[in-house]
């Protein structure tokens, strides 16, 4: 049962990533793309968590944590760039 649920979840987040891709490609505003990337980051975290469960391992945990951190920092940088130009003003 867990396998099926896992496959379902994988499918959901995979499809979600494709939706994100659509927005990343189509925009139209930089903000829209940044948002899509930010969402992609979140979906990626979910996918890695699923991968951990599927493989019964925790070795990728730190990586997903790092994705969360870097995703945040990069989203804020992009946005700050649009708002102010200087990211660390």
């Amino acid at each position: 049962m867990i396998e099926i649920a896992l496959a379902f979840a994988f499918g959901c987040f995979g499809l979600a990533a494709l939706f994100n891709l659509y927005r990343i490609v189509m925009g139209p505003n930089p903000g829209d793309r940044i948002l899509a990337l930010d969402t992609l980051v979140i979906n990626a975290i979910a996918l890695i968590a699923l991968y951990d469960v599927a493989l019964d391992t925790q070795v990728y945990f730190e990586a997903s944590m790092l994705i969360a951190m870097t995703g945040f920092v990069s989203t804020v940088s992009y946005a700050r760039y649009i708002l102010r130009g200087d990211v660390i003003e």
Binding site: F10, G11, G14, A17, L18, L21, I24, V25, G27, P30, R33, I34, L37, L40, V41, A44, L47, I48, Y51, V59, Y60, E62, A63, M65, L66, I67, M69, T70, G71, F72, V73, S74, V76, S77, Y78, R80, Y81, I82, L83, R84, G85, D86, V87, I88, E89
Partner: protein
Amino acid sequence: MDTTSSMLPLIVAAPFLGALLPGLMIRAGRDTCTWFTLLPTALALLMLVLHAPAVIAGEVFHYRLAWLPSLGMNVNLMLDGLGLMFAGLILGIGLLIILYARFYLYRSDPMGQFFTYLLLFQGAMVGIVLSDNILLLLIFWELTSLSSFLLIGYWNHLPEGRQGARMALAVTGLGGLALIGGMLILGNIAGSYDISVILQNSEAIQGSEWYLPALILILIGCFTKSAQFPFHFWLPHAMAAPTPVSAYLHSATMVKAGLFLMARLWPVLSGTPEWFYIVATTGLITMVIGAGIALFKDDLKALLAFSTVSHLGLITMLLGFGTEAAALAATVHILAHASFKAALFMTAGIIDHETGTRDIPRLGGLRQLMPTTFAIGALTALSMAGIPPLNGFVSKEMMLEEATHTVWAGTPWLLPALAGLGALFSVAYSFRFLVHVFFGPVREDYPKPPHDPPFGMWAGPGLLALVVVVTGLFPALVTPFVDAVAAAITGGHPHAHLSLWHGFTPALYISVAAILGGALLLALHRPLATGWRRAGPPYAKAIFDAVVGAATRGARGVTDGLHDGAMTRYAAILTLATLGAGAIAWSNGEAGPPTRALLPVSLLPAIAVALLVVSTATLVVLHRRRLVALVLLGVVGLVVAIGFIYFSAPDLAMTQLSVEVVTIILLLLALNFLPQEDPPEDSMSRKIRDGVIAGLGGLGVAVVAFAMLTRDFALPAISEYHIANAYKGAGGSNIVNVILVDFRGFDTFGEIIVLGIAALVIFALTEQVLRGPGADWLANWKGARREAGDRHPLLMVIATRVMMPMALMVGVYVFLRGHNEPGGGFIAGLVVAIALLMQYMASGFAWAEERRRLPYHTVIGLGVLISILTGLGAWFNGMPFLTSAFGYVEIPPLEEFELATAMLFDLGVFLTVLGAVMLALASLSSVARRTGEKVNVHAMDVNPLRGRPGGEED
């Protein structure tokens, strides 16, 4: 017969060593300087003369010193008759020239420099004629070209001097290089570069298929040096040199180097039809053309220069005949020409010096004003004309005699006829020299009032004029000497019959005809000159200039065209070259079928690849919008990181993620000051071109990647050892980390050095830019975009207060566990950097900096130092650099934990990474602050508590 003489190297060395003296002595005055120039020359001449009797008696002196034996290039010297004659001329005339130059040079001319060059030349020349090793000879040969370049260009404020020098260098340089080729071939055929050995191998050489190439190359060398047609044109332009140089190099000595070499190699090269036709014909043509042109030159030195060309042709022709008698004649004419021509040049120089001009039309009537000069000039000019009883007549008769005995291509009359024509011209220009300069009415308009020069100035030419007369009257005096020389040339035992009178021979008739014809020609000079000027052949200089000019322009065009700074083309060429070479390599090998089971395709990886491909493609399409491109780069980076996770590389994923975010921030910081968009400047064809190149590149890489992925290691990979020994040998279970800090710690050592250097470069660069013109521009810089208010939003500031410490903790965690689980110093460094970045983004870099200033340089230096010292620490265990040690420590009540020196090394990595990233950010931030950006006092812009009693001081 062969005797070793250790004096030979001294003869060669004396002028070279002596070359140091004039430069030093010039401070002691011009006379002292002259004396110290005469001294080495005289010493060398003395040493040479000491050998003369034995050499004339047939002895050959040798000297050998190994220099580069493996190549066969040694300091092997040889003194035989030929060498003796040339060395004697070089040193003897050299003495006279030095004396002459003392009076000729103006006070403003740097005399020390002049004599230095002259002695260098002299040494090189002596070296040529005494070399018994053709490689050594080549060295001296080229040295004469170089010193001649300096001497011609001595008056380098004159354009003629500069151009003449370069022309001479170009032509003789060309010849020298051809000569190198020819000599090497010759040496290879003979199996030795020693002339004495080569001379023994005449049959092998003439029988070799390489004979003709070698001959041609060597002759190019000789012809260029001796100004043979069609390389004759440089010589007249070398007349831009001060007259002592013209007299010395360009009449008496250097231009004879080609003749010398032909004579030197005569036994092995001559005697073949090729030799005859090339050498004799070239000589003949040169003789006639040179003489003809000389007739129409108004410049005294130019006249003499073309006359020299002509006489060199004459000697060349004689050598080309390939007979002993002709060799004898050549020898005699070399001596005769050296004596009269040097004297004539000096005479011309005296006239120039004393009248202020050497333009024949402005001269005339000097007979009374400069009687001594006239006497010398008359004797030597008549010798040049071949008038008995002067030495020029003796040798010219011998030449005509040989010409009448030689059949050219089945035509017996051709040679004598043309030789006679040459003689006729020769008479004509000689008479012209005499008549148009010295005879005629005294003029009123000499640039300077003419008078005879001081004794020192005419002593040299006077002495030579004496020689001209004496050897003309009593040619037998030099017979033994000539025999010795000719013997050295031919390797036989020729005997000369030198006399003024040989009876009524065809040669005599030709001579008489030439003298009469010459006189007639002089009488007709004016109309002929007019015709010449109208229809004369193109000046060789014009042709040379055109050729060199075209070559230079062509070279400039090619060079600037190829290297026009078009980096985009450079990169395209690099790509295509790589593809081409790769394709050639690929097609030369065999690409086999898969040898490993392939992974099945599943949905999510396919989606990831789709994400990668589509976002990359979008990046390319939208790349002109730079911010959007950066966002897409972030997507690509994320997908790559997820790919690393999917394929079992957590460390890589973490590194990729953290590096990428820092990279993007750096790019954003830089982009702030750059244009926000690329202008639409690429044509469609250009896009297609680049697209094709890029597509091919991608295809190539994909093919190779697929081939690589589908085939297993042909041999077991060394990483099996790493897997087996990571824990056992290095105490870590994260194999990647163990490789990084232990097995291949040296790579990591280099890597942090790279980072450290990067930071230094960035720092230095920023300092530089901020001190340069960029700073002023920045000061007035206004960002293109409208800035939103609220620089430091409250929400971000508050979130960071919690998140930053947490992120720091994550950094420590990642660092500590790296040896056993994914992580390590590098990632930890970046995580800490990212944590600090959050703070910088929240309240600004400068604000944060004011609260805790990180000494970045120190952090970096400390990091590198820790790594080095950890590495060196192993020495105390008697182990090599970077040998790690680890152990397990138990501090009750704690459980045991591991301590490894590798972690100390990793700490160095951590610090370097942290310092480097921060320094880069600080540098960019300092650029931003140069725009007048204000540093905020408060952590956040919007704070409802601010200003209230008890409100937060932020």
